[in-house]
């Protein structure tokens, strides 16, 4: 198996785990009508730690995982995550990627972008957009706080998975 494929598999495994954990947390939060959305955290580790093609593949496949369980046009999340990957990748040469704080801030911005795009595309399906805005803002706030809290752990997990798969980038490859 090539190194790129091992990178993709390792990162997808991490993302699958995060999706599973998030869905369980959302299940527990459902009586409060609150749902966490951590799309930025699914994109940022791959974008900041591997090459463009591997990162794009991870973003697209992760998006399809999200699309499969959501009543949206199949491909919505996939293309949004891919777009977030493209934007983040185009800026990554100017970022101190090895710094955890920088990586978490990048994930927060990516999450905000994905959330805004999703709200733009799905907003039309809401019958009461005004009152729903309060809920959406509450969800965004909670999601960003949770992302900031678990971001360092998840970045560390993805690096560990890449190391275990023997696909971690050497410092000179950054």
């Amino acid at each position: 198996m090539t190194r790129r494929r091992r990178q993709i598999l390792a990162l997808l495994l991490g993302n699958y785990l995060l999706i599973a954990v998030t869905s369980q947390v959302n299940h527990a939060f459902s009586p409060w009508q609150l749902r966490l959305s951590l799309g930025g955290l699914l994109v940022a580790p791959a974008t900041l730690s591997v090459g463009f093609r591997a990162g794009a593949t991870v973003a697209f496949l992760t998006g399809l995982l999200l699309d499969a369980t959501a009543p949206v046009w199949f491909g919505t999340h996939a293309l949004l995550l891919l777009a977030a990957h493209a934007v983040l990748y185009s800026q990554r040469s100017g970022l101190a990627r090895e710094e955890t704080v920088v990586a978490v801030v990048a994930a927060l911005l990516a999450n905000l972008g994905i959330w805004l795009a999703l709200a733009f595309f799905l907003g039309a399906s809401l019958s009461l957009p005004g009152s729903a805005a309060v809920r959406l803002l509450a969800e965004l706030g909670c999601s960003q706080i949770v992302l900031a809290l678990i971001g360092p752990w998840f970045f560390s997990l993805q690096v560990r998975l890449l190391t275990m798969a023997g696909a971690k980038l050497r410092p000179d490859e950054f």
Binding site: I19, A20, S23, Q24, N26, H27, S30, P31, W32, Q33, L34, R35, F52, A56, F60, L64, L65, D67, A68, T69, A70, P71, F74, G75, A78, L79, L82, A83, H85, A86, V87, Y89, S90, L122, S125, L126, S127, L128, S131, A132, V134, R135, L136, A138, E139
Partner: protein, 286 residues
């Protein structure tokens, strides 16, 4: 060496190409991919449900014998009440069948209850859905109504190998015809507002002008049976307000849904039977 401008544009060119290519992927391939990605995630939900069940088991194991004896007594009393009601239900069903045969009324379609455990609840401002632990393995059809002790839950939107996705009536865009109890004029119920840290709500449209509802004296809404999806008489929610619309012909109001809808753990899918297969379901009127 490639110019730097091309390198910077490469991510966006790739994005544009993938988006364009995705538009031309055949619908069959997309459906296959969707089903595959859905089934990949189903084991996680089932495993998580098993873990929760184990957790509940160990919590119950901590109860003392005295608490278990008291719970057993309460269960025995409840069982005795339900047995009595079941006998009354049988008598009513027999009486109903006799009257129907006297009047030569064609039999109503029968329903089979398929009880299922809720694996996952997924509530957003855009959609409200649950995943249940029964699918094609129990012949669950797409579009089947789903109910619980508090009334209507929603309808099956998607069926997997051993799980199904149910769209809740609190989901924006869900519409069904309903009556106020004691009235036969239909109105339209629509799911809608689901505020954070609050219970789900819906809207009622085309409410007759003489219907008066307030939070202190709400009107109970039940399914009308029109449309053929839901059997008539199932509780939907409570109409807590009714204001005259701009046209002056009808009122619009707010519907308060059962708060237990957000904590569902067990639901029943109503699977329609062929006429020769069974008796008609007679839902208990509230």
């Amino acid at each position: 060496m490639r110019p730097q401008r091309f390198d910077q544009a490469k991510p966006f060119l790739t994005l544009a190409l993938v988006a364009l290519a995705w538009l031309f992927v055949p619908a069959v391939a997309k459906r296959f991919l969707r089903a595959s990605f859905y089934e990949i995630q189903a084991p996680v939900e089932v495993t998580a449900d098993r873990v929760r069940a184990l957790q509940e088991f160990w919590v119950l194991k901590t109860h003392t014998n005295n608490e278990l004896i008291a719970a057993g007594r309460e269960t025995a009393a409840a069982l005795a009440r339900y047995e009595l009601w079941a006998q009354q239900q049988e008598q009513l069903a027999a009486e109903n069948a006799r009257l129907n045969s006297l009047l030569s009324v064609p039999p109503l379609p029968g329903w089979r209850y398929e009880h299922a455990r809720v694996l996952q609840r997924d509530f957003t401002a855009w959609w409200q859905q649950i995943v249940i632990f029964k699918g094609r393995n129990y012949q669950i059809p797409v579009g089947a109504p789903v109910v619980f002790a508090g009334g209507v839950v929603g309808r099956v939107r998607e069926v997997g190998a051993y799980t199904s996705v149910v769209e809740l009536i609190s989901s924006p865009g869900v519409r069904l015809a309903a009556f106020v109890v004691g009235d036969t004029r239909p109105m339209v119920y629509q799911g809608g507002e689901n505020p954070a840290f609050g219970s789900a709500r819906g809207q009622a449209e085309n409410v007759p002008v003489d219907v008066v509802a307030t939070p202190a004296a709400p009107c109970r809404l039940i399914t009308s049976g029109l449309g053929g999806v839901y059997p008539p008489g199932l509780p939907v929610g409570e109409l807590v307000s009714a204001e005259l619309g701009a046209d002056g012909l009808f009122k619009t109001g707010e519907v308060r849904l059962n708060p237990l809808l957000a904590r569902l753990q067990e639901v029943s899918v109503l699977v329609r039977l062929a006429p020769e297969e069974g008796m008609a379901l007679t839902p208990a009127l509230p």
